[in-house]
């Protein structure tokens, strides 16, 4: 069966948009249930942590440059370096380490 690329793209866009739109438009009030509130409070930390590790080790040319970026990023963030600073320094660390070892 012949499929149309634009229909594919439309389906991708429509499904992705609905997932994002429904909660933001339907949940208008402050959720008062403490368990639910607490759950949503922890969601960003868990999601971002889960997505960062171990994926960061595989994101670069070598597991060692990824590990170095992880350590550097954690230290810089711990000592209060800005979002932009941590992001740029992680990239520089990877670039320099890969220059040396690859």
């Amino acid at each position: 069966m012949q499929h149309n690329t634009y229909i594919y793209i439309f389906i991708m866009a429509a499904v992705t948009l609905l997932i994002r739109v429904l909660p933001l438009t339907l949940i208008r009030k402050r959720i008062t249930n403490i368990t639910l509130r607490s759950f949503l409070y922890y969601v960003p930390y868990v999601t971002l942590a889960v997505m960062t590790f171990p994926a960061i080790l595989e994101a670069t040319g070598s597991i060692w440059s990824g590990l170095a970026a992880l350590v550097a990023g954690c230290l810089l963030a711990f000592f209060g370096v800005s979002l932009f600073g941590v992001a740029v320094c992680s990239c520089v660390v990877v670039f320099v380490i890969e220059l040396i070892i690859l």
Binding site: L24, I27, L36, L48, P54, A69, A87
Partner: protein, 238 residues
């Protein structure tokens, strides 16, 4: 109104590292799109309309395989389901009286990164902060994809490799500072990383797509934390 302007500028500034990281990640997405037979225009359109890395990648793979439309819809639903959780969390960050149009516009670009920065602003979220970030992030994502299709491997591998790690650096900058102040968050972050690592190695579970693993871990760990350490006071750092 000047408050909106300053939030917009702040969003622009925080959006720049996101846009740069997106460019690098989307570049590799563009390469996948061209392998699937998409033109630069088609790939750019898909990127601009979805703003989703895993969703985009899964979509292009299915297009290459000439999969059915229903399979496409279901796959996008599963791969992007984490945005449902993020969107729920963001709904609590907005002032309850925020008009529909602002909610729709914010929803259009709920990505891992923009969610990360907008959920970590102090107090309620001003939609203009998101608009600022979106102003640079969406072009970064779209152009990265288009360039990926057109130029293939023009950027040196070492540069793409280095740029790709920027997004993770950003995630760390979002989760580490609160973890330093709050022991429960520190424990939650540590356990999340440990379980994520285990999930990527365990037999059977590691066969699941990374999108599904993220959903399972997010629901299980966040729920456990919520039951064991409910957040009592109305903290604004939600």
């Amino acid at each position: 109104m000047s408050e909106n302007k300053s939030w917009y500028k702040k969003g622009l500034r925080d959006g720049i590292p996101i846009a740069l990281g997106y460019f690098a990640v989307a570049f590799t997405l563009g390469i996948a799109a061209s392998k699937a037979g998409l033109s630069a225009f088609e790939a750019g359109l898909a990127a601009a309309l979805t703003n989703a890395s895993a969703g985009g990648y899964a979509g292009f793979t299915l297009i290459a395989a000439s999969a059915g439309y229903i399979e496409m819809a279901l796959t996008e639903l599963i791969v992007n389901a984490r945005y449902l959780l993020m969107s729920c969390a963001l709904s609590q960050k907005l002032a309850p009286e925020t008009p529909l149009i602002h909610r729709l516009l914010i929803a259009f670009d709920v990505t891992d990164e923009i969610f990360g920065i907008s959920v970590s602003v102090t107090g309620t979220l001003n939609p203009f902060y998101n608009y600022g970030a979106m102003t640079v992030a969406i072009p970064g994502w779209t152009l990265g994809t288009v360039f990926g299709v057109i130029t293939g491997n023009i950027l040196p591998v070492s540069l793409v490799s280095a740029l790709g790690v920027g997004l993770y650096g950003m995630f760390l900058a979002i989760i580490i500072p609160p973890a330093r102040k709050n022991k429960v968050i520190a424990a939650v972050v540590t356990i999340s990383m440990a379980m994520s690592f285990a999930f990527s190695k365990l037999p059977v579970i590691s066969e699941l797509s990374s999108g599904i693993r993220v959903i399972i871990l997010t629901v299980v760990i966040s729920l456990a934390a919520a039951l064991l350490f409910p957040v009592k006071e109305d903290t604004d750092a939600a």
